[in-house]
Amino acid sequence: MSERDLQRRSVQYRQALLRLIRTAKAGHTGGDLSCLDILNVLYNRILRVGPETFKGPDHDHFIQSKGHCAEALFVVLADRGFFPEKDLETLNRYGSHYIGHPTREVYGVEQNTGALGHGLAVAVGLALAGKMDRKDYRVFCLLGDGELAEGSNWEAAMTAAHYRLDNLVAIVDRNGLQITGSTEDVCQLSPLDEKFAAFGFGVQRCNGNDIGELVRTFEAVPFRPGKPSVVLAKTRKGKGVSFMENVAKWHHGVPNEEEFNRAMSELEAAQAALA
């Protein structure tokens, strides 16, 4: 898929996401929108996995440690054909597998997540098994930046470096906001690049809402031979909807009808500009 096509796809995903959240009357809207471009590039350009190969042993793996943004993952998985889009109409409904956090009941989801600070260790185990078995699959793990306050991430980071897991790629959705406010006000994370480098990672920053930059960055992994990689993807929470961008209250805000219509108008204009 060309970069232009990917850009158009991102806008479509944002529209689908807002429709989904509006129908379900729930969702982590801000974080969903910040990481959508990352998921788009991964699933449409980078990951060697699809609905046909998902059950096989040798595909690339993706673990969404940032589990509260399940809606974004579901939108992308549905578009990639893992399950019919209409299934998402049951999101958060009684008895549905499509719930607020990823579960393996949903075809295409690798690991149950939601509690933060869990995904990276599981990704390390998968990557380590790949090395032991001399397989060429890679393991990508998407983390939220606020999630990095969980110490389990740094335990996993040490193990990843110790075992020289250059088949592991951690991606930090660095939108700078968490539910209470700025990540730096809540518990200072910076300098993340120096921290990950000190933990033994090859580090690259990129604009996590720029399709071209994401493609080039992911195509360059591993950044350092024999080291795990981390992509510090600078994003904007609520990206793509002007009044949601960089506003903490949209962490899990649900738009009312007027807000929804305004957001969709903006996205239609963005789509038209890409035509």
């Binding site: 042993p57 393996r104 690798e110 690991q111 149950n112 997540t113 939601g114 509690a115 600070g117 869990h118 990276l120 260790a121 599981v122 990704a123 390390v124 185990g125 998968l126 990557a127 380590l128 098994a129 790949g130 032991m132 078995d133 110490g151 389990s152 335990e155 996993a156 040490m158 193990t159 110790h162």
Partner: protein, 313 residues
């Protein structure tokens, strides 16, 4: 009964046997290969041990990832840390995610004796019993330890295996076989039943032998599988004998005793009943034997409890 071998040593020897047959069997450990008696394993099959350092949360997460790739994984660490510090990883990464990792808690209960409460694991049955999709096993002796490890390796589901450090006697048994979820009949008797698990089965048997000299015949069951509990064996013990004493190296809250009590009460079975374990209090320290004696979990202590219970009308 002469002490034979520590259950933990049987575990490590059995694991090595299995690892030699299955190159996909891995042990993940958190700087505990020495205390887990895994040094011979590491020497014999060095490619099958993964060290993550002192990091129990990571231990379980990495084990989940290895299991996701098809490995048979034993995650080994002191029980006190593994089932407290990494409880959420056990719950989410293994049980909720259906990753069939074998979580092995070593030096469990009060094995660490004088190291104090930080190193005692008297909560693990309670917390794990409340989590869906984990089989909880506390073998009594070498035979049960060997069979439990073999059975756990075959089970396509998460298992918690609990081992102490003490050398345990080989127990006589009425039932020759072993199956997860099925109590082992150690001694037949109609006057009273001791329902025990792990390293309290041997003192329960000792108590039964002491009482036999007084003409009181006690049934002794090893309820090595706390979950799923062998309900039928518990029911029969309560209805076929004159009372039930449960014995466990665990808090009286949420362990074997409460599991049996809840079952019997809900079934409408009323009998003389006593839960022997650790009270809801700071734990006394000392050797494991001294601590058992302090709380009446040794042979003479359990026999004394039996006499009192039988005297009740």
């Amino acid at each position: 009964m002469e002490p034979a071998q520590a259950n933990l040593e049987v575990f490590s020897a059995t694991l090595l046997e299995l690892a030699r047959q299955n190159p996909d069997l891995l042990v993940v450990t958190s700087d505990s290969r020495g205390s887990a008696k895994l040094a011979p394993f590491a020497k014999a099959v060095p490619g099958q041990i993964v060290e993550v350092g002192i990091a129990e949360q990571n231990l379980v997460g990495v084990a989940a990832g290895l299991a996701a790739a098809g490995k048979t994984v034993f995650a080994v660490s002191p029980a006190c840390f593994l089932t407290a510090r990494a409880l959420e990883q056990i719950k989410n990464d293994l049980c909720y995610s259906d990753r069939p990792v074998k979580v092995v808690g070593i030096s469990a209960g009060v094995s660490y004796g004088a190291l104090g409460t930080t190193h005692h694991s008297l909560h693990d049955y309670a917390v794990l019993r409340a989590i869906h999709n984990v089989t909880i096993v506390a073998p009594a002796d070498g035979f049960e330890s060997r069979e439990a490890v073999r059975a756990a390796a075959q089970l396509p589901a998460p298992v918690y295996l609990r081992f102490g450090k003490k050398r345990m006697p080989h127990l006589p048994r009425v039932d020759a076989g072993f199956a997860l979820g099925k109590a082992s009949l150690i001694r037949q008797g109609r006057d009273l039943s001791f329902l025990a698990c792990g390293e309290t089965v041997a003192p329960a048997f000792e108590a039964a032998e002491l009482l036999a000299k007084e003409g009181v015949e006690c049934r002794v069951l090893s309820l090595h599988t706390l979950k799923p509990l062998d309900y039928e064996a518990v029911r029969r013990a309560a209805t076929e004998t004159g009372g039930v004493i449960t014995a466990e190296e665990h808090s009286v809250s949420g362990g074997l005793g409460e599991a049996c009590a809840a079952l019997l009460l809900q079934e409408g079975i009323h009998t003389r009943f006593k839960i022997m374990g650790f009270p809801d209090d700071h734990t006394v320290t000392g050797s494991q034997d001294e601590i058992f004696r302090h709380y009446g979990l040794d042979g003479p202590g359990l026999a004394a409890t039996a006499r009192k219970l039988l005297a009740k009308r």
